[in-house]
Amino acid sequence: MWSWVLHRITGVAIYFFLLVHLLDTALIRVSPEAYNAVIGTYKNPIMGIGELGLVGAILFHALNGLRIILIDFWQLGTKYHRAMFYVVIGVWLVLMIGFTPRHLINVFSEGAV
């Protein structure tokens, strides 16, 4: 049940980010100044933490989605659905442990902006 709940919550969150992200990226067609102004609002620590949440949500939705595909199409999928959920959590943790420091160093480093 928790995989189902998390799949819905992460799906809705990603969907609303996608709507905003399509509109902000469409500004490249308006002018360089307009796009740089809006992308500039992403370049601060609060949005940096938000991106961490976004990547975490996308990673979970992707990994659990692959698990759903295996449950539906692999003949042993329903037998191992619980084991695969623990694999999803494990792989999610490993990837997040890899991504988080890399991303936070980018967000908090003094450098190009």
């Binding site: 469409a26 067609r29 360089p32 796009y35 940096g48 692959l66 595909i69 890399r102 190009a112």
Partner: protein
């Protein structure tokens, strides 16, 4: 002598396209493709280089100078937005019990999806990485200096 009885599990519908089945299949096929497309997108834009701080007009224009990224983002736009809208349709069907609210939400979903697909497609294929009149320090380095 034999007696024929209808199968208790005989499908109620006869003929016509089974849209729910195709929608179900679409979620799985597009989902698998999106795993590749979105992680490629995240790695190139967020992980390599200096991450989100490196993203500006020149960065995006540099990508869209290549048909590879135009096709990549075009595929991502259509697959992801329809995947997301169809997922939201599932939630509307589950939680919006009032028929009027249900219908209004689905119209809003269909309308916003159509508008954003059109907008995004036009942006990708009519984009000029070196727009006339823009100051050169905002443009990618390959743009001719005026």
């Amino acid at each position: 002598m034999s007696v024929t009885i209808d199968s208790p599990r005989a499908p109620r519908r006869t003929g016509g396209v089974n849209w729910e089945k195709w929608g179900w299949l679409y979620m799985r096929v597009s989902g698998a493709l999106l795993v590749v497309l979105i992680f490629g997108h995240l790695i190139v834009n967020l992980v390599v280089g200096e991450g989100v701080k490196a993203i500006d007009f020149a960065f995006v224009a540099g990508k869209y100078a290549s048909p590879f990224w135009m096709i990549w983002d075009f595929a991502m736009l259509w697959l992801a937005l329809i995947h997301g809208a169809n997922g939201m349709r599932t939630l509307v069907n589950d939680y919006a019990a009032n028929p009027t609210v249900n219908k209004v939400l689905k119209f809003a979903l269909a309308g916003s999806t159509a508008v954003l697909l059109l907008l995004g497609t036009l942006v990708i294929f009519t984009f000029d990485p070196c727009p006339a009149g823009a100051s050169a320090d905002l443009l990618p380095s390959f743009c001719p200096v005026p």
